[in-house]
Chain length 226, copies 2
Amino acid sequence: MASPKTKTRMLDAAERLFAAHGIAGTSLRAVTGEAGVNLAAVHYHFGTKDALLREVFARRVGPVNEARLARLDALEASAGGRPLAVEAIFTALLAPVIEQSRADAQQGHDWRRMVGRVYAEPVEVVEPLLRQHFAEIERRFTAALARALPDLPAGEIAARLSLVVGVLTHVLAGQHEIALRQHGEVPSDAAMIARVVGFCAAGFRAPVAAPRAGARRVQTALRRRA
Amino acid sequence: MASPKTKTRMLDAAERLFAAHGIAGTSLRAVTGEAGVNLAAVHYHFGTKDALLREVFARRVGPVNEARLARLDALEASAGGRPLAVEAIFTALLAPVIEQSRADAQQGHDWRRMVGRVYAEPVEVVEPLLRQHFAEIERRFTAALARALPDLPAGEIAARLSLVVGVLTHVLAGQHEIALRQHGEVPSDAAMIARVVGFCAAGFRAPVAAPRAGARRVQTALRRRA
DNA sequence: GTCTATAACGGGATAGAC
DNA sequence: GTCTATCCCGTTATAGAC
């Protein structure tokens, strides 16, 4: 256990380097160098760089998504068919990833930025990963939110959930913590979860916005200028 | 004007390729190839790849940020010292970038994803860009929000503004539109701005959240398991 | 200001010994 | 399962002709 297996060491190294320098910015030589293994080992264990990325991603996201669904299951079971509170739904969505990533980070496995960064990769890289891991999550949480907010149109729920994903990837990418540290704050897990949940729940409860009348004029003016 | 200058063509090509494949994933060969110019031209006009990125970024973000500040100036001038509405502040922050990027996108210049992607680049690349372009924006809009929401602690304003940045970069990166299109929706500029502004304003008005009592137990259990 | 040619190096991937 | 050695190509950057 003091010296993990070759494959694990490569996953750890790739996770760290992907987070720090991006996927394209990380060479397999850097991965094997950091893991202290030979360059050829990565091809033996994973085949290609892309397959390595898929394993790095699935190792962390898989368990987190199981925890999310288990938490939502438990909430719905104890609610006995009644709609859930929006805050409870978002806590089930956000808390597992933040708690688990923080716990792993304390052991040197900082995979939050890796996950956050994957969302910024080219679509051909991201889409297979997201389709595989998040289809069920999106389906279940959209349904729960629809029951919790019956007055919100289905399209609006999907649209706002996408904004929540934006908040979460930003937090995962570490940008939120950077901003906090610039103001001398280092929040606890619980405080950060509470803030993000409160922000997103309030955002979801906002009335459906109608475009302002003035917006069209501005847009037209811009089009003319360009 | 039918065939722009070499330098402009390279900026256009780099903008498109950075958006599609990321910074590290875009080679100077690809840029000059797409621009139809010689490989050496990029070094003549920009010197290094990093300088090219800085020019690509500044060309779009500079004017947008000027428009944001001008819009905030106009709001504050007409308010005569009284606090602004939160929605008006966020509209001044969000509308210029969405409107201007959409107008440019209709002419084939799709730089939204380029800007959104820059936020996911390694810190040593991003931080100089953000420091140069967003210090004034953050200062001015934080001050306006603090006057609009006098009961919100200063740290909370900074923290929530960082979440708004997360929403905006997600929208700019194009993820929000992808999610919408999966549900058959293609919103207008004005509708998207109204939705994002409404979401963020409601999130900002949320009561300051206190961590739930149960959160500590969960965190401790996770730490034990790991 | 734009070109060709090339330097100097790093990239992913693979073959085959051990 | 891990190693060495190597292939072949792409990378940024530069030198110097035009």
